[in-house]
């Protein structure tokens, strides 16, 4: 079995994995980082979005060995000892989550949007979320949360 090594939320990790192991399996099953979720098997729902080298990626759609040497960030690494990141706080303030299952992917995806577009319009947010599905919220409060989070991050 090949050995993969990467940095996850600032920590170096290394493990022997089957070649077919997906990045999301590696995170959930080898590292017990269960905040990243699997909601589909066709790369549509976005519950598994993490950052790989600073860019949002669907961790169900890449192999762990493809992330060898990469810098990976997951939802578990965002808060500061329980103090929420402004984007997390915006989701809480705007009731941008209900069951919470799609939420980690939504937040990680939103951060990638805001990195490139610090002041997204409603339409920018809605179009960006093409790859993230939520069944609970009707997206109403997610869109508001992302705009509010972006505003908070602009300071």
């Amino acid at each position: 079995m090949p050995t993969v090594s990467m940095t996850v939320n600032g920590k170096s990790v290394s493990a022997d994995v089957e070649s077919r192991t997906l990045l999301v399996q590696f995170l959930r099953e080898h590292l017990a980082l269960t905040g990243t979720h699997v909601g589909c098997d066709t790369s549509q729902c976005g519950a598994c979005v993490v950052h790989v080298n600073g860019v949002s990626a669907k961790s169900c759609t890449m192999l762990a060995i493809q992330a060898d040497g990469a810098d990976v960030a997951t939802i578990e690494g965002l808060d500061d000892n329980g103090t929420l990141h402004p984007m997390q706080e915006a989701f809480r303030d705007n009731h941008g989550l209900q069951c919470g299952f799609c939420t980690p992917g939504m937040v990680m995806s939103a951060l990638d949007l805001v990195k490139n577009n610090p002041s997204p319009s409603e339409q920018d947010v809605r179009e960006w979320l093409e790859g993230n599905i939520c069944r609970c919220t009707g997206y109403h409060n997610i869109v508001k949360a992302i705009q509010a989070g972006a505003a908070a991050m602009r300071g």
């Binding site: 729902c45 519950a47 809480r92 209900q98």
Partner: protein
């Protein structure tokens, strides 16, 4: 109102863990020495199993065991039960064919479970399953209800003639016929309520464990009602007594009905865990979810409305074919009958109603409750019918509704279809809806849209929902095999903090926040001092669970009752310590005070005294402060509302954009407005999804064509607008909190509002009906057909 009490917009306590990746969903749970199950599923809609060879799979790397339908049959365990018995018109009970955990004889839908492989890893189980050789004799299949009831149609169950589960009726047929005899107008519609696939974002998971030293079973499962699963699986399938079976449903990632039901995989992993002496975990992937989670809707209905010369509704007759799928799911039989036909009066005074429902087996995934469950089907038919009536009689659609509303002074109102509405003000809710939607400004918006070469339509719907399901006596009389109460236990700890144990399950609804608001308000303790515990049969005394928008109306009422008992007991304690009579103790803002004096004890002091009872008169006053309550409602609760949708249609492409959506609902008292608005947003978008995007399709061989998110269109953010949500609350619902339920209203009110808007937009082109989902192709074809005439 305090900042955290009833009516306050409190931020949710559950969010911290969900936002930081610390949620505890079933797939996040693993047990030592765990194995993994993979279910081999039928690729055929209908086929006899000639033979099944598992030898190569059993010898495959990492495989622990392979089980087949024969193993299940030989073990003597039961099949999956149906929880609601319906009788046909002739008094005969419904057909109730066996629903085995693994099939031995023939498969009846794509996805039917054939064998279970258990291995050391999930991938090994999956690899091995591919090595099972099944010799299928493919049989002709049937997926459409109108075909399935014909002579000579393939039989899903050999013993069920004409695939008919039951042929049921409700209402006064003679009075209804008399109404039609006097009609000035008779309006007819044929509507199909399209089959939808629930798609909670968390796929189902079941993890079974068995402790040989104690004989105790544990099942972790993605359920909306763990106690119901314990009862059904323990008593009917595996014969495990309840005290030896613990069912836990921790954080659950959405349900929408699909996680009410008892599924085969739950029983399979529990059964196998004992066989193997090791935990067994099964995790559905999304493709499996599409072909195993119970689907929703799939009704074909013909309806006729008799109207007099003044536009008053005289009589309604309705005939429905309801698809049950291949087997009876847990509550499938109640959906088209007691959850649907009983709502046929809607918010109108129609004096005579007759409904017949024929439930039909087909070679499709079982059909059961999905958000709204029966009530969206009735509302859609009724509101399409009323719009059609407006067109046919020439009476304005708003005016026609006004002429037929049940008036508030008629409450309580006995409908001709069994229900008695307790309270409501439909005219006021309707007018509030029109005002919130700026109904009078529509002409201006329409002109602006048309200036851009598009068409604009406005659609109105009104609805009523029966929820808070239900008084057990009524449900029992109608065939329910369960009671439908709820339980709560309020445990006050010595230092005054509180743990609430509730039988209502939260899978997105925010109960940990809303219920804590209720307890905080009632006991006068800080919101932060209240913890809400649910989803574990070992912790919570009992629970009927969460569905039918019942959590606050029924579960909340049980909490209310338990809090009242706490206050009664605390009053006794305070009276004893303050040396006053109980009658003189007043409880207000968390303090027990002797009336007219400054002698007072805070709630926390009474709690401590309850656990340090140094001088209690033990004959009359027990130590402790821990009370439970069971609440069985007096009636359903009846939310109502008015939803108004405006769409823009591109006549060249058939693309429909929802330009504006307004929901004004009467859900009674609102405990947390933020959560209520979120529930309505989600429900409305679920309903817009059904109206415009979502449609489950089978091909002529019974293959599921919409088996992934590549093929089944879930609503995406860029399909949807912001939703305007308002409440027009009418108090007086038949429960102590005067709440009515909000989880489903959006999905009930929105589909007819959307389709009425699309038809309104296309009216100038001669289109009089558009089927759901109104995809660009459907709309474009409707335009072409109308133009061709």
């Amino acid at each position: 109102m305090s900042e955290t009490g009833i009516g306050a917009r409190v931020k949710r306590v559950e969010d911290q863990r969900f936002l930081t990746g610390q949620g505890n969903y079933t797939d996040d749970i693993n047990r030592p020495n765990q194995t993994y199950a993979h279910i081999l599923r039928s690729p055929h809609a209908h086929a006899r199993i000639r033979s099944l060879d598992t030898a190569e799979a059993a010898a495959s790397a990492g495989v622990v065991a392979v089980f087949t339908g024969k193993d299940i049959a030989d073990s003597g365990v039961g099949g999956l039960p149906c929880g609601w018995q319906i009788h046909s018109k002739d008094g005969s009970p419904m057909a109730e064919p066996a629903h085995p955990m693994l099939v031995a004889d023939k498969v009846r839908h794509v996805g039917d479970q054939v064998a279970m492989v258990i291995a050391e890893t999930r991938d090994q189980a999956r690899d091995a399953a591919e090595k099972i050789v099944v010799d299928y004799e493919a049989l002709p299949s049937v997926t459409a209800t109108d075909v399935a009831i014909k002579d000579g149609a393939p039989l899903v169950h050999d013993e069920v003639a004409l695939n008919t589960c039951y042929d049921w009726e409700l209402g006064d047929k003679a009075a209804t016929e008399a109404g039609f005899a006097n009609a000035a107008h008779v309006v007819k519609v044929d509507v199909v309520n399209n089959r939808i696939i629930p798609n909670a974002m968390e796929p189902r998971v079941a993890l079974g464990d068995y402790d040989g030293s104690t004989g105790d079973y544990t099942l972790f499962t993605t359920s909306q009602n763990p106690h119901v699963i314990r009862l059904l699986m323990g008593a009917f399938v595996l014969q495990i007594p309840e005290h030896k079976l613990r069912v836990m449903a921790p954080d659950v990632g959405g349900g929408f009905g699909s996680k009410i039901f008892h599924y085969a995989e739950e029983a399979l992993v529990t059964w196998a865990a004992r066989k193997l002496g090791r935990p067994v975990k099964w995790t559905s992937d999304r493709s499996e979810a599409f072909m195993t989670d119970a689907h929703g809707r799939d009704h074909r209905t013909h309806a006729e409305l008799a109207i007099d010369g003044d536009g008053k509704f005289l009589a309604l007759r309705v005939s429905t074919l309801a698809n049950m799928g291949a087997y009876l799911s847990t509550f499938a039989t109640s959906i088209p009958t007691y959850l649907s036909a009983t709502l046929l009066a809607g918010v109108y005074t129609t004096p005579a109603i007759y409904s017949e429902v024929r439930a039909v087996f087909t070679n499709t995934v079982p059909v059961d409750a999905v958000r709204g469950a029966g009530r969206p089907e009735t509302t859609y038919m009724l509101e399409r019918l009323v719009d059609q009536a407006a067109k046919q009689t020439g009476i304005d659609r708003a005016e026609l509704r006004r002429r037929n509303f049940i008036q508030p002074e008629q409450m309580p109102y006995q409908t001709p279809v069994a229900l008695q509405y307790d309270v409501g003000d439909y005219p006021a809710v309707f007018e509030a809806g029109l005002a919130a939607a700026d109904y009078s400004g529509f002409a201006g918006r329409k002109a602006e849209t048309e200036s851009r070469g598009k068409l604009r339509g406005l659609g109105i719907s009104t609805y009523i929902e029966a929820c808070g399901i239900a008084p057990s006596a009524v449900a029992g009389a109608l065939g329910a095999r369960a009671g439908l109460y709820e339980s709560a236990q309020v445990r006050v700890h010595p230092t005054g903090s509180v743990t609430l144990f509730t039988g209502s399950h939260s899978h997105g609804q925010g109960h940990e926040t809303t219920f804590a608001q209720v307890v905080s308000e009632m006991l006068g303790v800080p919101f932060e001092s209240v913890d809400v515990s649910h989803g574990d049969t070992a912790k919570v005394q009992f629970g009927m669970g969460t569905y039918g928008s019942r959590s606050l109306a029924v579960g909340g009422s049980a909490i209310y009752k338990a809090c009242e008992k706490i206050i009664d007991k605390a009053t006794k304690i305070a009276a004893h310590i303050l040396e006053a009579s109980e009658a003189d103790i007043e409880f207000k803002d968390g303090n027990f005070t002797v009336a007219g004096t400054d002698k007072s004890m805070a709630f926390g002091e009474v709690a401590l005294a309850a656990y340090v009872p140094h001088n209690f008169p033990h004959e009359t006053l027990e130590p402790g402060l821990d009370e439970n309550a069971f609440y069985d409602p007096l009636n359903f609760s009846f939310p109502s509302g008015c939803h108004i949708c405006e769409v823009e249609v591109d006549p060249e492409t058939g693309v429909v954009d929802v330009a504006k959506f307004t929901a004004v609902d009467d859900i009674g008292r609102v405990v947390n407005p933020m959560i209520v608005e979120g529930q309505v947003h989600g429900g409305v978008v679920h309903g817009i999804g059904q109206a415009l995007l979502e449609g489950c399709k089978y091909d002529e061989n019974g293959q599921l064509l919409t088996g992934s998110y590549m093929d089944y269109t879930m609503p995406r953010a860029d399909d949807m607008p912001f939703i305007t949500v308002e409440q027009k609350s009418v108090m007086g619902a038949s429960n102590p909190l005067e709440v009515k339920g909000v989880g489903e209203v959006g999905a009930i009110g929105s589909p007819p509002a959307v389709i009425n808007a699309v038809v309104d937009a296309l009216g100038p082109l001669g289109v009089s009906d558009v089927a759901m989902p109104a995809t660009p192709m459907t709309v474009w074809q409707a335009i072409q057909e109308a133009q061709a005439h």
